[in-house]
Subunit: 146 residues, 2 copies
């Protein structure tokens, strides 16, 4: 177990502006929670975190906000856990995947054009038009190996 969380500096207002979504108080709260928690978290986990900061936010609202953020690609939903996290590679165009350490929970995002291409090929060979794909790798991170 580690606590090597690097604190990302996230300007919530800036993020919202770039995403072209409406800038609202609840959205800023969710963004700030995601930034401060700095690891994948469930919608209700966000709600609990906000409660500890003495702020309340309706769970339905959190679901809807996360859905909007996900559509705008500023957050990702990690399918295996149903948790959400801020995109850490906003500058890298294309498909993003995840690495997850099942020991300490560390989550890392990666961008692999090769992987993207390969999966497009797999889809094509099967007669599919790829519209979306998800890649989640789990294992032991470098810290937990030792």
């Amino acid at each position: 177990m580690h606590s090597f969380v690097s604190k990302p500096i996230v300007d919530t207002g800036e993020l919202l502006k770039k995403s072209k979504l409406k800038d609202t108080q609840p959205r800023r709260m969710v963004l700030e929670a995601l930034a401060k928690i700095n690891m994948p978290v469930s919608p209700y986990g966000i709600q609990k975190w906000l409660l500890k900061k003495n702020t309340e936010l309706n769970a339905v609202t959190i679901y809807r906000i996360l859905h909007a953020f996900n559509s705008a690609c500023i957050v990702h939903r990690h399918p295996c856990s149903g948790h959400f996290a801020l995109c850490t590679l906003p500058e890298q165009k294309g498909h993003h995947g995840f690495l997850h350490c099942h020991s300490c929970g560390l989550t890392e995002e990666f961008c692999s054009p090769a992987l993207c291409t390969l999966e497009h090929g797999i889809a094509k060979k099967a007669g599919f038009d790829l519209e979306n794909h998800m890649n989640e790798i789990s294992g032991l991170c470098k810290h937990c190996k030792s």
Copy 2:
């Protein structure tokens, strides 16, 4: 929407024997449901299917059975939906991924050593020991494109 479901002939007893899991009535029921439904289905979906056949099975039991089957790799859990389906490529060793048509629900399994290798490389480069990985591709199948 199509109904090009190819009926797989599944010998539930045989499957259980090969998996080395205990051969029980509930397990045979779940296997038969999965075989007959022939597409990814939720645990409660299995329960409902069994009910329509006038058989009952406890939901907790279904969860536990699916977990055992998943560990034995005779069924897979599709992370994006939380649904389960029989493995359709039992003879192909290694990692299996999925293609899913969001229009008709058709699901196809694929086995790609190249993809597996690539993801092992991605993990290694990030300092991870890969222990598991999931690949789910969604799009339009060849039937739904036309």
